[in-house]
Symmetry: C2
Subunit: 465 residues, 2 copies
């Protein structure tokens, strides 16, 4: 595993070298999305949009600014976020009557309006989402994509007739998460956060945690069961079949640009990034191999291949720069392009092309007639093999411990009596963050690692980003 | 033509009734994009994205917040916008050292970074764009999509080696504008704004003006030639082929959610909206015609038709609500769906379906075997005929005048000696806004309407939104 210092140095460097962002913007924690990074983010968003359409969520776009009084209605929520919001106090030359804040998340912008939109049981389930920018005045050290102050954000909000239907929604959210995770070749843990660490205002929270090469975890998604908590504060009620007015049950599901951070960190080697084929901005880069004679013929054939790939829905790029092939290989490896296609004089004669996999370096000469089919198959194989490799890392990263001293690096799994006092004790004694328990449930036999009374389940802890 | 009062009442009402936005958000001038309206905006954005890809613009995403000192570097620019920006002065519980403003447009966020990105002539032309939200503290009366304080915005920014290449860019922008205009069935005038009314910091500005049913015009796009103005202020230089350092020439091209406002206003009748087929969120709505017997058979056939349309890339919606067909017709006409498909018992027997055009009410029974082909053809025809109708309105709305008194309603075209004094005089005496001169150039013979000296060209004026 990488040390935190090694990782930080590498990570902070590669995100700029590979062209994912530019950190020279003069506001701390607010970076510029450069074209290559933004394309990656957009392709990840496209997976999300497509899942939202599949599951009948409708897209909306709410205002960025929230009046202070409206924000303050759900008490726990304002406690959770109050210290980290940006305040707009003036417009033009005048002070505002009511201060406005930049949304840190949109519950308090949306829910007073949901109260107007939702009238009867026939309006339920109600499922909307938006992809937007949110703002959090982070006081911790910032890091590109992982901890920033302007966050590219996805948030789905739903309202339901009862707790059970909201629970169904959470299962659907986990299904969506699994589609997104597969596209990114990212395995993760679905953790039910302990009560003392749930989202501000939630009944319970599920954190989606990815294992990082330093042994820490990063939360890339959050799913929250609100029960009637927000509905009470914002008056979201509906008339049921019998004509009675009831509070709606609500859930939310959020993801952010941390998905990019996790992709960068989890899939890499000494050469640089390795992008999952499903979201790679460039899936195949074509590098012409110079030949003294037939130079123009090679160039022409490369262009033909480029257009064939493009018109078959493969994101291809033809690198015609005046550089040595070796330099080009180096560049595109660093930038994580999953597949390289080389074409030179010899391939011309054989009606062939050479394919080189970024994930394992495997090189193969293939007939150009079957190119599209083979490229698609290899891209699929790369995806499968990247996911498998990451799954093995995650598996190896979870360490069972019997007691709370002498802890290994990684995710710690300990037996737990399920008492809050013991959980907090474990948190204090290990100095780790408690991730919680498996959302799917897990039974433990034996003794609680903190109090030695009989254990009920397993508690997970790790250092987190 | 509609009076301003009639139009305002109708417009302010229809945008909510048709489900395009909700104006009940508690911050003035900041509305909620509801699913139907947001889908329309997204489809318009899709046209823009596709044109950007075609013309080699790369997408970026810059931070929303701009430090005050950086904003103030281009003097005319800050004069133009200074009075209408929102100021972030606090974060968490602390006042900020340097105040941040919400971008009213992104020149001052981007250009210091362009200065780092652009080094040599090989980096030029440099073409990027973003689709984002911008903020302007409007003091005039707000109106959904037309004058709002949080604006959904498109902005392309380019850098060039010289003035001529920047001019080429402006011609390309006009070509892109024409593709967008056609998709929206919106004819427009390309007006070179008078010098005293150009964009803050520009060398010259081209306004894209659409004729509204009240006789006023609305600017839906702006293209600006900056020459070296911003490059000087922000130090954007490049090394030319001879190794000399030169200032870059720059252009911008902007459009906004006003496109939606223009579509709503230009295409409508007493029944409600008429959406251009290319961007209509629903292109074909299927309404089953109830039959006592065969009810289930009709429903099933409607579902089959729905899936056939969908899988052929047509945005279809099947209305299975428990309502009378007449009520459904009324709803979808109001919401501007270009084509209605009715299917009942009789159509079942004939293997037919009835198509009703929203634009002209024409009704035709068509064989279901040829449905896809016919639907596509009719959608095309609707687009062509909507554009033609709007072109005729625009043409009829431009009125030649000889003198500056007793003006007709609409766009006024007057002969002009091209002197600023006369232009300003015309502005003062007519009480209209000067739109400028045709970007393509136009020669006039006769006498200037203001000073009676020989005219050189035509000057246009109108009341504007």
């Amino acid at each position: 595993m990488l040390s935190e210092d090694e990782f930080s140095e590498w990570y902070n460097d590669i995100v700029e070298k590979a062209g994912l962002c530019d950190k020279r913007y003069p506001v701390k924690g607010m970076n510029i999305w450069t074209p290559y990074g933004w394309k990656l983010m957009s392709l990840i968003d496209a997976v999300t949009h497509s899942e939202m359409a599949r599951t009948g969520h409708r897209e909306v776009c709410f205002p960025l600014l929230i009046p202070e009084d409206q924000f303050a209605k759900e008490e726990k929520h304002i406690k959770g976020f109050g210290g980290e919001v940006y305040w707009v106090t003036h417009a033009g030359l005048n002070p505002l009557d009511i201060r406005l804040l930049l949304r840190p998340t949109s519950e308090t912008a949306m829910y007073p309006i949901f109260a107007l939109w939702i009238r009867a049981h026939t309006d339920l389930p109600f499922k909307v989402y938006q992809i937007c920018n949110v703002f959090r005045y982070e006081t911790k050290q910032t890091r590109a994509f992982v901890r920033v102050r302007e966050i590219h954000f996805f948030e789905a909000h739903t309202c339901h007739a009862d707790f059970e239907d909201a629970e169904r929604q959470i299962r659907e959210d986990l299904e969506i998460m699994s589609v997104v995770g597969k596209s990114l070749c990212l395995p993760y843990m679905e953790m039910r956060r302990p009560d003392w660490d749930k989202f501000a205002g939630a009944h319970y929270s599920v954190g989606i945690d990815v294992f990082m090469p330093t042994g820490r975890t990063i939360q890339i998604g959050g799913i929250h069961q609100y029960r009637e908590n927000f509905a009470k504060a914002y008056g979201i009620t509906y008339e049921d079949e019998k004509g009675e007015h009831r509070l709606a049950h609500q859930t939310t599901y959020g993801m952010s640009e941390r998905l990019v951070g996790a992709v960068v960190a989890v899939h890499h080697d000494q050469k640089g990034l390795k992008f999952p084929p499903a979201v790679a901005p460039i899936q195949v880069v074509i590098v012409p191999i110079p030949a003294k004679e037939l130079q123009e013929k090679v160039a022409q054939e490369c262009r033909t291949v480029f257009h064939r790939l493009q018109s078959n829905g493969i994101r291809a790029h033809l690198d015609e720069r005046d550089l040595r092939p070796g330099n080009k290989f180096y560049d595109w490896e660093e930038k994580g392009v999953p597949l390289r296609l080389e074409l030179g004089k010899r391939d011309l004669a054989n009606n062939a092309a050479v394919l080189v996999r970024r994930d394992n370096g495997a090189k193969v000469s293939v007939p150009r007639d079957e190119l599209i089919m083979i490229v698609k198959r290899i891209l699929d194989e790369i995806g499968i093999s990247m996911l498998k490799a990451a799954e093995e890392q995650l598996k190896a990263g979870i360490r069972d411990v019997e007691a709370l001293d002498d802890l290994p690096v990684g995710v710690i799994r300990m037996r737990w009596c399920a008492e809050e006092a013991c959980g907090k004790d474990a948190e204090a004694r290990t100095g780790l963050n408690i991730l919680g328990t498996r959302y799917s449930g897990e039974q433990a036999e034996g003794k609680c690692a903190a109090c030695w009374k009989p254990a009920k389940t397993y508690l997970y802890a790790a250092r987190t980003y």
